[in-house]
């Protein structure tokens, strides 16, 4: 019997650990909103306090990109005096993501900002959210055939894809072999961007051949291994486009190492892609990456919270709307665009993320 008691005690301890984790989590989330009364309390004394809660759900927790977005979401929570829960599965898994959204609907949050891992699979849960009058906004990756109210993005996937294709096309002189590295073969934003890039090559650079598309499933190690395989499989490769935050640094690291080892000619493989400046800073300074396309994921998350808050208060989302700290946004139908930035050697030090 002693042992039974001992076991129960251990269980209790584990759960107090759980409770601690909970406190920590809340502190993390609340850090922003605690600062809020000080900031906005003087401006509008009578405004309703942090009663509105939003669930901001990236594709996964871990990658630097999503960590940068979390900062923006928490900043928005502070500025708007609302509560933000920022959470996602540790791996980009659609089923786990949907379970989490379902749990948050039970918690009766006022709005949910989702970056869906699978654009189709979120359909039923979005319908349910709409039935409960919970606002749904997709961000970073869209689910166009669902009941989501708005999609917050840097720009259309088509424009970004074309910009990437044009960048690499110019760099390699309009002909040669190019490989695509994506974060997930199933996610809408990756498909749309890579399709747009392919179409752009076909129309403007008919001499460029897209040899393959490899996917890392948002796993940094896998992205690295993919890049290694690419330069081994295609020794005459001219360019790599990385369509998500983890891909360009992996490609650049592998290319730099191969150049150092003498297995690859310096400058043979041009790399461009979407990556957070702080992660690719050294590669840009070394010239391994000439141009990197990015937007501020923090501002993207900030805009998502802002749009959700507007919707929850019954306010309109209008074109040219000025969002604090983000600036004017373009609203095109159901899309909200915050714009992209080009990172080069000259401006790489000017970004704070």
């Amino acid at each position: 019997m002693k042992k039974v008691i001992l076991t129960v005690l251990t269980g209790v301890m584990a759960l107090s650990l759980a409770a601690c984790g909970n406190n920590n989590g809340n502190n993390g989330n609340g850090g922003g909103s605690q600062a809020a009364p000080a900031a906005s309390g003087s401006a509008s004394a009578g405004s309703s306090s942090a009663s509105r809660t939003y669930f901001i759900n990236p594709k996964s927790i871990g990658p630097a990109y999503w960590a940068a977005a979390q900062k923006g979401a928490e900043q928005a929570a502070g500025d708007l005096n609302v509560k933000v829960v920022y959470n996602a599965p540790t791996e980009a898994d659609s089923a786990k993501q949907i379970n989490m959204i379902q749990d948050m609907l039970t918690r009766k949050v006022d709005g949910i900002g989702v970056s869906p891992n699978d654009a189709k699979a979120v359909g039923p849960i979005f319908k349910k959210a709409l039935g409960q009058d919970v606002k749904i906004v997709t961000w970073d990756s869209d689910a166009p055939e669902t009941d989501r109210q708005y999609y917050v993005a840097p720009d259309t996937d088509k424009t970004v894809g074309e910009l990437l294709a044009k960048t690499i096309g110019d760099e390699i002189g309009g002909k040669g072999k190019v490989a695509f590295m994506v974060a997930g073969l199933g996610s809408e934003n990756q498909i749309a961007k890579s399709d747009a890039a392919k179409a752009y090559f076909a129309a403007n650079y008919p001499d460029i051949e897209v040899v393959t598309t490899v996917s890392s499933d948002d796993d940094q190690q896998k992205a690295y291994a993919n890049a290694q395989n690419l330069i081994k499989t295609y020794p005459d490769l001219n360019g790599i486009i990385g369509f998500a935050g983890g891909e360009p640094p992996a490609a650049a690291e592998v290319v730099e190492q191969a150049v150092k080892a003498g297995t690859l000619k310096a400058g043979q493989v041009a790399i461009t892609g979407i990556a957070v400046p702080s992660v690719v800073k050294n590669y840009i300074k070394n010239g391994t990456i000439k141009t990197d396309i990015i937007w501020d994921p923090g501002k993207l998350a900030y805009t998502t919270v802002y749009v959700l808050d507007q919707l929850a208060q019954g306010k309109e989302i209008t074109d040219g709307m000025d969002i604090p700290t983000v600036g004017k946004v373009i609203v095109d139908g159901k899309n909200v665009f915050i714009g992209t930035l080009q990172v080069t050697k000259d401006n790489v030090d000017s970004f704070g993320f």
Binding site: T7, L17, G21, N87, D103, M104, K120
Partner: protein, 317 residues
């Protein structure tokens, strides 16, 4: 037989401890979150636990028999995608479901053939299958999700019967059935026997090969069923379906008191273990606890379950 008489009260003790833990979790989260102890939330949780639960049934049996099946997640994904492709090619949806089940059985048959007939290491074989099948999934559907099933199909994963999710009722029935098989039939005794002393079972004239084969076939079939239910619940068959589900399944099984080296364990324990992990995850989600902490807590629980067993085991000797 004396083995058996010792085992029974011991197992019930263990179950009691797990029930305490479950109760504690339920009470704790009821206090921490006003949304936890509600019918909607409970039904949500039941709806979400079905895939892991379905696979946990054969997994418990396999672990009791002293082996392990790590390929279940890939079998799930493979069957789901097979079903999607069959449906895309114009097959009737229920015929596509049969395709998925057959695909699962085939995978299980390969596992069983190599492990039972050729006596290869279960962990090695199933890791091989895990990697290979996941690769095949990507080859088959080029990584793109398959969706657009008829509404009648969503009944399996999304509809409620008398306020209870249909898939949860299905899971409960299967657990009862499997529990009966393990406790009251010769097959169940063989499984425990193989886990305790494979040689002895062999020399008693019982076919170890056949028993193991059946276990892995069951595992394939249940994983495929889980795949069908998952597709129905999420309305989409994607290449990543079921990734890492084997970890959840094994966690539920081990927290449920099944011994990793076989011979001991029970389905009722696994069921409670399953409830513990799904309610824990749900409660932490409701509180907005970051998944990073959730992983720590789940891991700690597993350590307790295993550690607890080690001192139990010493007292047992």
């Amino acid at each position: 037989m004396s083995e058996r008489t010792i085992r029974l009260p011991f197992r019930q003790n263990k179950l009691l401890v797990q029930l305490f833990l479950l109760l504690f979790i339920l009470v704790l989260f009821s206090f921490l979150s006003p949304y936890f102890f509600t019918v909607t939330n409970f039904m949500n949780v039941f709806n979400q636990m079905v895939e892991v639960g379905l696979i946990a049934i054969p997994m418990t049996m396999i672990v009791i028999s002293g082996a392990m099946d790590l390929s279940v997640g890939s079998i799930l994904g493979f069957s789901a995608v097979c079903m999607g492709i069959a449906f895309e090619h114009g097959l009737n949806i229920w015929a596509s479901v049969v395709v998925a089940l057959v695909a699962g059985l085939l995978c299980g048959a390969v596992n069983g053939y190599l492990i039972a007939r050729h006596r290869m290491q279960a962990i090695v074989v199933t890791i091989g299958m895990l990697v290979m099948l996941r690769g095949l999934v990507y080859v088959f559907n080029e990584g793109r999700p398959i969706s657009g099933y008829p509404d009648s199909f969503y009944f399996l994963g999304q509809e409620y019967v008398a306020g209870v999710p249909f898939n949860a009722i299905f899971l409960a029935l299967l657990f009862l059935l499997a529990n009966f098989v393990m406790k009251r039939t010769r097959f169940g005794t063989y499984v425990y026997g193989i886990g305790n002393n494979e040689e002895a079972v062999h020399y008693s004239g019982i076919s170890v090969v056949r028993t193991r084969m059946i276990l892995f076939l069951l595992s394939g079939l249940f994983s495929a069923t889980a795949g069908v239910f998952l597709v129905s619940r999420l309305a989409s068959a994607e290449a990543t379906s079921g990734t890492n589900i084997e970890l959840d399944v094994l966690t539920a099984t081990l927290i449920g008191g099944t011994h990793i080296f076989g011979g001991r364990g029970s389905l009722s324990g696994t069921f409670v273990g399953l409830l513990i992990i799904v309610f824990l995850r749900n409660g932490l989600n409701l509180l907005g606890v970051s998944v990073l902490y959730q992983a720590v807590i789940l891991g700690a629980l597993l350590l307790i379950a295993v550690g607890n067993k080690s001192f139990k085991g010493r007292s047992f000797q």
